[in-house]
C-alpha cells in the first residue's frame, strides 16, 4: 500500500512536469484594467486552443476578474497582474467582468 501511494506521487509529478513543458508554447493575451475598465474590452482569441490571459490591474484598488462562461474568478491586487489560463474554447462569445466595479468593468472574449 505504501509503495502504491509513493508510485502515485511520482506519477503525478511526472504528469505535471510533462504538462508544464507542453504549456510553454501557450499563446498569451494581455488585458489591462485602468479606471475600472478593461482595455481592450473585446479580445479575439483562437478557438479550440488553450491560452493564457495576463490581466494587468493599473488601478490602485483590487479587482476580481470573473466570468461565468469561462468559469474563472481571480482577484488581482492594485498595481499588480495575474495570469489566468483559459480554453480550449468552442467558437463563441465569453463575457467577463470586474466584480468589484461591475458597472464599468465589462468585456468579452470572442473565440474564432
Amino acid at each position: 500500500m505504501k509503495r502504491s501511494f509513493f508510485v502515485l506521487g511520482v506519477t503525478m509529478s511526472l504528469f505535471f512536469t510533462q504538462a508544464s513543458l507542453a504549456g510553454d508554447e501557450l499563446k498569451i493575451f494581455t488585458l489591462t484594467i485602468k479606471d475600472h475598465k478593461f482595455t481592450p474590452d473585446t479580445l479575439e482569441v483562437p478557438a479550440n486552443e488553450k491560452m493564457q490571459l495576463i490581466v494587468k490591474n493599473e488601478d490602485p484598488t483590487p479587482e476580481e476578474f470573473e466570468s461565468h462562461e469561462l468559469k474563472r474568478e481571480k482577484i488581482i491586487k492594485g498595481n499588480s497582474e495575474a495570469k489566468i489560463f483559459v480554453g480550449p474554447l468552442e467558437p463563441g462569445e465569453y463575457p467577463f467582468f470586474g466584480e468589484f466595479n461591475e458597472a464599468t468593468a465589462q468585456g468579452k472574449l470572442i473565440a474564432k
Binding site: M1, K2, F5, F6, L8, G9, V10, M12, S13, F15, F16, T17, A19, S20, G23, D24, K50, P62, E64, H68, K71, R72, E73, K74, I75, K77, K83, I84, F85, V86, G87, E90, F100
Partner: protein, 254 residues
C-alpha cells in the same frame, strides 16, 4: 519561466511530500460532508456554516446533528487558512449540543486553474478534541479538479489519523467526489459521493465501509453568499440511512 519553474517545483515537492507522508502515517471519520476545490483567493475572507442532520434506523444516530462555524482567510495566492469550531448533538434522547473540536484547516493551491489537465491542491487539518475522551486528529487531502465546458468535477482523497491520549491506532482513508452541471451561477445541480474505507492496514468489507451518495445543489446568492445543500443516501450497511447536509458561505474581499 520563473513562474513555471516555481509552480513545477511546488508541485513536485508537494506530491513527493504527500507520498512520503502517507508512507509513514500509521485515524477517524470525515465529519463534514464538503468536497473541497483546490483554489485559493488571496485577500478573501470567508465565513462558513456547515451542518448535517442524520436519519437512521439506529435511535442513537437518528437525529444526530453536526454544526461547524468557520472563519478563513486567503493569506497568499496559494494559501488559505481557516479556524473552525465543531458542535455535535447525538441522536440519543435528551442529548444536548457539545463542543466536539477546534480545528485548523489549510488549503494550498498547487496549480493555476486550467494550467494543466487537472487542477491540484493540498488540504491539511489539525483538530483538537474538546469533548471528554475525544482524541486530536490530523488529516490530509489531495484535492483535484477538472472543469469541462458544462461540468465541474472535484475529487478529494483523504487520510486521517487520531493523535494524543485517546487515539486509536491506524490511518483511515476516504474519498469524496462531486460532479456538478454548470447550469447558471445561481443553480448548479450535481451529485456527491462520500466514502470512508476504514483503516489502510485493515481492509474492511463493503458493508463495514461507509458509502453515501446523493443529489446536491450549489450556487451563488446575492451579497456574496453561496450555498451547497444536499441529501446523501446510505449506500452500505455501516452508513447512515440518510443525511441532510448544508453549507452556507459568505465571502468578502478584505
Amino acid at each position: 519561466m520563473t513562474y513555471h519553474h516555481t509552480h513545477k517545483s511546488r508541485l513536485i515537492l508537494s506530491s513527493l511530500l504527500l507520498a512520503g507522508a502517507v508512507s509513514f502515517l500509521p485515524s477517524a471519520a470525515q465529519a463534514t460532508k464538503k468536497v473541497y476545490a483546490p483554489y485559493v483567493e488571496e485577500g478573501e475572507l470567508e465565513i462558513e456554516l456547515k451542518g448535517s442532520y442524520a436519519i437512521d434506523r439506529d435511535r442513537n444516530e437518528d437525529g444526530e446533528q453536526k454544526n461547524k462555524f468557520a472563519v478563513g482567510y486567503g493569506v497568499t495566492d496559494f494559501w488559505f487558512s481557516e479556524a473552525q469550531l465543531e458542535l455535535e448533538k447525538s441522536g440519543a434522547s435528551g442529548a444536548d449540543y457539545e463542543f466536539e473540536a477546534l480545528e485548523w484547516e489549510n488549503v494550498f493551491q498547487l496549480t493555476e486553474q486550467g494550467e494543466y489537465w487537472l487542477d491540484a491542491g493540498l488540504y491539511t487539518e489539525y483538530a483538537v478534541g474538546l469533548a471528554a475522551g475525544k482524541s486530536d486528529k490530523v488529516e490530509g487531502k489531495l484535492l483535484l479538479a477538472k472543469t469541462t465546458q458544462n461540468f465541474t468535477h472535484l475529487a478529494n482523497f483523504t487520510l486521517e489519523r487520531q493523535v494524543g491520549e485517546y487515539r486509536s491506532d491506524g490511518t483511515e482513508w476516504g474519498l469524496a467526489w462531486s460532479s456538478r452541471y454548470n447550469y447558471t451561477p445561481w443553480l448548479e445541480p450535481g451529485i456527491e459521493i462520500h466514502s470512508e474505507f476504514g483503516e489502510i492496514s485493515h481492509t474492511e468489507t463493503y458493508a463495514e465501509q461507509q458509502h453515501q451518495i446523493g443529489p446536491v445543489i450549489y450556487g451563488e446568492l446575492p451579497y456574496g453568499f453561496k450555498y451547497d445543500i444536499g441529501y446523501l443516501f446510505g449506500a452500505s450497511d455501516a452508513a447512515k440511512n440518510g443525511e441532510l447536509k448544508w453549507i452556507i458561505e459568505y465571502e468578502m474581499y478584505f
